[in-house]
Amino acid sequence: MTAEPMPQAGVEIRPLRPSTGLSLTQLALRRLRQDRLTLLAMTVLASLGLLALLAPVITEHVIRQSPERVDLLKTFSPPNAENILGTDENGRDQLARLLYGARVSLAIGFAAALINMTIGVTIGAVAAYYGRTVDDAITWFINTVRSIPGLFLLILVGALFRPSVEVLILVLGLLSWPGIGRLVRGQVLSIKEREFVVAARTVGAGDIRIIFFHILPNVIPLVITYAGIDIGGIILVESTISYLGLGVQPPTPSWGNMLSGSTRYFTQAPWLIIAPGALIWVTVLCLYLIADGLRDALDPRLKT
């Protein structure tokens, strides 16, 4: 049964769109269920997340290898029954290190994205809502930061601080918000002129209330769509600076820093180059595909 509004005496109420009795979220979920590619990407990503979460259990009980045990008699051994993905230059098991590396790389991606989203959404909304000087100042700042090639700033910070994982999350989060900030600003600029915002102001709602309860809920689809691209981008950047030796510091494994000795691997151990990079690629690809799928599900008009 659909939830048609009850006809009242003398007033005929017609719904604006043919009612299916489903909320917008339910409609989005229904579209998502038919999108096989997105579902596949979600499954792969969820499995990777699960493997990362269970890394200690798996390394101890399933593959029985430690990510830290150095064995100099077994360096660069190719994939075999004992070391499924071979060993690195210190004889450490690659699969175990990849599993622990997944924890680091994924944690950095998600945590830094949470920080930059929070900052970006708040600052973007404030800039667009208050306009004038506030907007000018924030826009100037956003354009400035975007003019400095991102990697340069990160390498600069990496060289100065030699960051721990926590500091790296903070730095990545603090440096990467201008992208989402600019998007949210644009969106809020158009939302704040709409009738329901004017109506809220007319009945006496304050700025904070209008921003958080009336404007921001309308930005959520944009934020959800952007999240996948954002997290993926951060994972790529983290892997790059870790590869250059200025991100996550050994012995903590991350997918990026496992590749930093690559010059020595080419002839001796190509499997050490293939595996970590392929994992980064698959992870980021899944995130981008999910972002694409969510955009189509949340706003089918945008579909190309």
Partner: protein, 318 residues
């Protein structure tokens, strides 16, 4: 037109100021005293105080900032900790190599990207379209340095088709210098071009589809023009405009990409110099390159804005 260029030039000044402030702040936020950071890390006590006075570190921060910016404007970027050469001289030696690599990458991406976009748009929904779109997402998601490593592994180490790095063959080159250079350029330029190729192909596809649905295209088709003439004579001209706008935006990407690509392929450019300097904590060098790269990005954006004003006169008046 002159007015438009002047206005754009003036707009660049606050951005440049902002960049210098951001970099100054980042450096001053770093743990430890700048004396230890920039000079001898073992200096202590009285000597430290004297050093601080000599360098003007006892004065207010804004005075120090103004001093720093004036010396930058005079072209004084300090000397490298490692080689003790002037920073600017080292950068001037390396920059041409980076520009060479970036230019080749830009040319490749401008040739390949839009072509793929047009192919996809004219075969909308077909296998070519699908292939181009899948490739674009795959390229977006691949870590650039790993793409380089894989190309080296497959094409240089396994099949020995290309050199694994460097700018020229040291001894016994069997090709004339120009060809030898291009041979060394091929892989790094391809890696650097990968991102822009994906971007341009996607942009070109969207824009081409948009333009192809417009009335003047139908007019051209209905007066019996050949499909080729409609595509290249009418549609392409308008569809290519957005590429010009993003050209400036790809510059930060190119410089960032050059850092990675040059490191992977041991290409002796500014990006490699930057990573090496960051490694050895050569702060004046790191600072100098950050500033120069940012200024080049701002100049590039300026040029692409002006170029856009030239090709699309409507922009100048808005």
């Amino acid at each position: 037109m002159t007015k438009f260029v002047l206005r754009r030039l003036l707009q660049a000044i606050p951005t440049l100021l902002g960049i210098s402030i951001v970099i100054f702040v980042v450096i001053r936020l770093a743990p430890g005293d700048p004396v230890n950071l920039f000079f001898d890390p073992t200096i202590k006590g009285e000597d430290l105080e004297r050093m601080r006075r000599q360098l003007g570190l006892d004065r207010p921060l804004y005075v120090q900032y103004v001093d720093w910016v004036t010396s930058l404007l005079r072209g004084d970027f300090g000397r490298s900790f490692v080689t003790h050469e002037p920073v600017l001289k080292r950068i001037a030696e390396r920059l041409p190599n980076t520009i060479q690599l970036s230019l080749v990458a830009v040319v490749i991406s401008l040739l390949v990207g839009p072509t793929l976009g047009i192919l996809a748009a004219t075969h909308r929904g077909g296998p070519i379209d699908q292939l181009v779109r899948v490739m674009a997402v795959a390229v977006d998601a691949v870590p650039n340095f790993w793409l380089g490593l894989m190309l080296i592994l497959i094409l240089a180490v396994q099949f020995r088709l290309f050199p694994s790095g460097g700018m020229y063959t040291l001894r016994g080159a069997f090709m004339p210098p120009l060809l030898d250079r291009l041979w060394h350029l091929a892989l790094p330029a391809l890696v650097l071009a990968a991102g822009p190729i994906a971007l341009y192909s996607r942009l070109m596809r969207t824009e081409m589809l948009e333009v192809l649905s417009q009335d003047y295209i139908r007019t051209a088709q209905s007066k019996g023009l050949a499909e080729r003439a409609v595509l290249y004579g009418h549609a392409l001209r308008n569809a290519v405009l957005p590429i010009v706008t993003v050209l400036g935006g790809t510059l930060p990407f190119l410089f960032g990409g050059a850092v990675v690509t040059e490191s992977v392929f041991s290409w002796p450019g500014m990006g490699r110099l930057f990573v090496d300097a960051a490694y050895s904590r050569d702060y004046p060098m790191v600072l100098g390159i950050s500033i120069i790269a940012s200024v080049l990005v701002v100049v590039g954006q300026l040029l692409s804005d002006i170029l856009y004003g030239v090709v699309d006169p409507r922009i100048r008046y808005s």
